[in-house]
């Protein structure tokens, strides 16, 4: 017998909530960012085999995040009625994706050009990547409040305050990352005359990209805040 009532209007009424997949997407994007300290430790130790492995891990996480991003977009047709504007959710996924993309760009450059910071800067650059990864981790923590926000209908005072406190920490961590980068650039500036000019150019670029991961994480937080404000 043909299955009855497959098209029950009540069953058809429920679409797939994008909230879970969006949280999952951020956790993949963050996974890519969390590999950065390991990448620079391996490069610092001139363990290029290990560095190549970390690069592979970052690429894998980024491509998984990409797949999930496309799936979220596919499952958000115009006809869905969502608790928050559809455009804001799509923008949020796009920005989350930047975190993974930037991490992948960094890994690609480091492996492609065997980039390694000079010994005196080793500790500082690993600290910088750790700060940047911590910013991303904190943004993920805020994004993981999305299901709790949905539970209170995106408006609750308690829950909104909770998320806003988390976002404040994201901003602080991003600020810490920036300050570290300024100090690292100053150190690099002192050494740059003794280093091959092309390599120096790329070292500056890598510092900028590591900061960009933290910036992207901060933008994720900003987007989340827009969801709350409405």
């Amino acid at each position: 017998m043909h299955p009855m009532a497959i098209l029950s209007p009540l069953g058809k009424l429920f679409g797939r909530s994008p909230i879970g997949p969006i949280q999952e997407h951020m956790s993949l994007a963050d996974k890519a960012a969390q590999f950065l300290p390991a990448l620079f430790r391996a490069a610092g130790a001139k363990d290029w085999e290990q560095a190549a492995q970390v690069h592979k891990d970052i690429v894998a996480a980024e491509s998984e995040a990409d797949k999930l991003k496309r799936s979220v977009r596919r499952h958000l047709p115009n006809s869905l009625f969502l608790p928050v504007p559809r455009s804001d959710l799509l923008a949020l996924v796009g920005i989350q994706d930047h975190v993974a993309n930037t991490a992948k760009d960094i890994a690609g450059l480091v492996i492609g050009r065997s980039i390694r910071f000079p010994d005196p800067l080793q500790e500082a650059v690993i600290e910088l990547t750790a700060a940047s990864a911590a910013t991303s981790a904190q943004a993920l923590k805020a994004i993981q409040e999305l299901d709790e926000l949905l539970e209170v209908g995106f408006t609750g005072r308690e829950e909104v305050r909770r998320v806003e406190d988390m976002l404040k920490i994201v901003d602080e961590l991003e600020g810490v990352t920036d300050e570290m980068a300024i100090r690292l650039r100053a150190e690099l500036f002192k050494l740059e005359n003794d280093l091959p000019p092309v390599e120096v150019m790329f070292l500056y670029q890598i510092i900028t990209l590591i900061c960009a991961v933290a910036d992207d994480a901060e933008s994720v937080g900003d987007r989340l805040q827009i969801l709350l404000a409405k």
């Binding site: 043909h2 009532a5 029950s8 209007p9 009540l10 009424l13 009625f81 608790p83």
Partner: protein
Amino acid sequence: MEIVIQHGGTFLILACLFGFFMAWGIGANDVANAMGTSVGSKALTLKQALIIAMVFEFLGAYFAGGEVTSTIRNNIIDAEIMSGHPELMVYGMLSALLAAGTWLLIASLNGWPVSTTHSIVGAIVGFAAVGISPDAIHWAQVSSIAASWVVSPVLAGVLSYSLFMSVKVFILDTQDPFHRAKRIIPAYMWMVGFMISMVTLLKGLKHVGLHFDLGLGSAFANAVPISTVAGIIVAALGMVAMRSIEDIPDEMHRFRSVERVFGVLMVFTACSMAFAHGSNDVANAVGPLAAIVSTVESGGQIAATADVPWWILLVGGVGIVAGLITYGWRVILTVGSEITELTPSRAFAATLGASATVVIASGTGLPISTTHTLVGAVLGVGFARGIGALNLGVIGSIFVSWIITLPAGAGLAILFFFIFKGIFGG
């Protein structure tokens, strides 16, 4: 007159068969929507849902279904016009039952969303307008029924929206939602008990011949204290059931324990939903049966006042249970699996909003669609930003199902009407 007396036994048997078929269809299909929210939100297991459905569908039909049954059998058609030809009434109501049952079966096999209520009303209007005369129909009554089909989902939406907002403000958006839930939820349980008791006392009991009087003047004044006590008893039961639920801290899902408390509440709202569904959908399925039985038993008098014989509602109740056992449980699982995004706190708001609306309609004697009312209720929770994603396209498909169901029910009823007329004469 003679035809009814001559074939009385045959008519009764046919009426019971068709009425049972119709009720079977409701149990096999329609109940799934009423119980789907409870199973989908995982507040109830399938077995618990089935037991609740069997008990409360029957209670609803028996204690609160009288008004709707009487609308279907007396108020849509003008019995006066047929007083000389009671057999036409019998043919018509037999056709309406058979048409609505057949149409439900066809639609279910093809997965079309249809409503029992709309099929039966369409079928009655169809046979009366074509088989007898357009003047035989109380068009004012029909238009108020049609209006209630628009009003009921909207009202359910407003109620569910308000209920969910109250849950948000009083429970979820507080420092300690878990303990708030335990303190506030008995109030919602009280509402369930009060509402069911009020409708039963005010509108139900007289149809089964029960009367009560506290000597407080009006029926309403009599019902309020009894219902208040009934509500308190329900709330007390709920508090006992909630005692065993403990707050298990879970940093990743902070509302999990709160939702478990709502799961207990959901058991009560599931009962009220089954009761509401029984009081309306079952009642409108057995309405034609009641009309046939009273015509045959009075030897051709089209009586409009007699009580609904208890065994008629039994046919409806047993039919539903048969439908549930043979097929309905599978449909409940299917519908339940499609609405897993619904957590108990939302399922509660939607279910209570819908069941309150349906029970009010049952009290007023308006046959409405439980499924459409539930859709309206879920949308209400959605507008309160409580649900991850809702498919608004469903509203369109509901309109299409109205437009198709009414003429389909009517067309089949007209066909069967002339077949019966050909077989039995008149």
